[in-house]
Amino acid sequence: MSEPVRFVSQKVDLDYKVVTSPVARRFDEQMRAGRITGHKCPECGLVYVPPKGFCPIDCVITDESNEVEVRDAGTLTSFTVITPIQYQGQEEKEEYVLANILLDGASGTIGQQRVEGIPHSEVRMGMRVKAVWGGDPNEGSRGWGLTGAIKHWEPSGEPDEPKEKYQEHVL
């Protein structure tokens, strides 16, 4: 008689179809054309990028009439260097930088953005970065969403912003 059974493997395998909301679809279309857009709340004036379709502070609906374009450049407000944990399905193998970036014209940051083109040890808060777009919008090879359309961010070469410009923008 062999060893008692102490564990059992249970494989979860679920197929999802996720319907894209009209707000996200419009944002994706604009991203494909190389424009980063947000919604400006008509009450408080905060600019949300990507747009949520509402302002969670004022509880008002926003739509295309509230759309504004922001720059594809901004200030890195904080970051981490990730050593990827090797769980099943993880494709990342090497260390990489993820940053929160306050785009010029936006009121809050976009989170967990890849920064490349600079040694990890030289990445710093307040650093100015610009988008490196991927694919060709005319050939339809550009990916969806922020992280699909923008391959990564890289230093723009502009002087760093002082603390007071980024300190209140961790998120």
């Binding site: 969670p56 904080s78 990730i82 050593t83 967990q112 300190q167 961790v170 998120l171």
Partner: protein
Amino acid sequence: MSSERVAVVGCGQTHHRKVRDDLSMAGLLREAAERALADAQMDWKDVDAVVIGKAPDPFEGIMMPEIYLADALGCAGKPIMRVHTAGSVGGSTAVVATHLVSSGVRERVLTIGFEKQSEGDTTWGLGGGRSGSVGAGGYFAPHMRAYIDRSGAPDYIGPAVAVKDRRNALKNPYAHLKLENLTIETVMESPYVWEPVRRLESCPTSDGAAAMVLTNEKGATEGAAWVHGTAIRSELGQFPGRDPVNPRGGRDCAADVYSQAGITDPFNEVDVAEIYVPFSWYEPMWLENLGFAAEGDGWKLVEKGVTDITGELPINVSGGVLSSNPIGASGMLRFLEVALQVRGLAGEHQIDGARTGVGHAYGGASQFFAMWVVRNEKP
């Protein structure tokens, strides 16, 4: 806050380990619950209602474990409910259980927080099954960097917290990590996982459970801990102007619970606190957020040893989340440990004469907060 006074009459926890391969998930809850019932001198039949909490289902891949656990927790003919608030769930579960008693609806409530992290992968779960999940540490790391930048804290503060909590864990027979001879240097030599956070500044993944029996005054036994305040706050995960370094939800939660307990000067009026510190830098951050230190001064308490087991305000003398992290139980363990302290039952990590204790948990994107204040005397 309440019409009925609430007493903590039973506390029980598992021996937390990387894998409790000797127990099923139900067996894990039972180990904690039976210890709590024994402490309360009660049996399963004495319990009126059960309130359980665990982290989101993808972590272990059992959907609605409360269904399968109802049998194992003696719930035939009784109410059982489950609370969901991500990492803070152990705390909010205890708060819900407290309210069932304080409202007069139930007399004797068993509450259990649990997690069997070994059955799945939390980083995978947090990423919704996709590649590129950075886990909780990867999400929180930029917030810790912002704290360091803002406060000007020296780089050894995080490692100092890691050493302190692991030394405390050596005094706690239930703690998962038992790291002997840890020094600030060895912590600083350990590799970064989510820079600026090193491996030894991060919580482990644990299997474990925590359980408490709460009663009204009629059911209270000699030597119970008494609940003097409970508070829960939540806030949106992200909006412009939100400050994850010192979140408004946490400040408001603390102010509310102190007000219920009549605390005006937390640093001097609290004898012992267990706060949710899964990554070392959260100790100084939460010391400020919870009003134990002025903004920017939290790290100075760590540096001066004020939060050591021998210090003026001992923090996480059980070893904390940095030493044992069964997620759904981690918040409840904070609440439970301070109840043990004011009951004088914490064993080798007992703070002599502890009369007022604060338990705290946080979760989600630093957006869910739960706290309680317990004392050795009735409110």
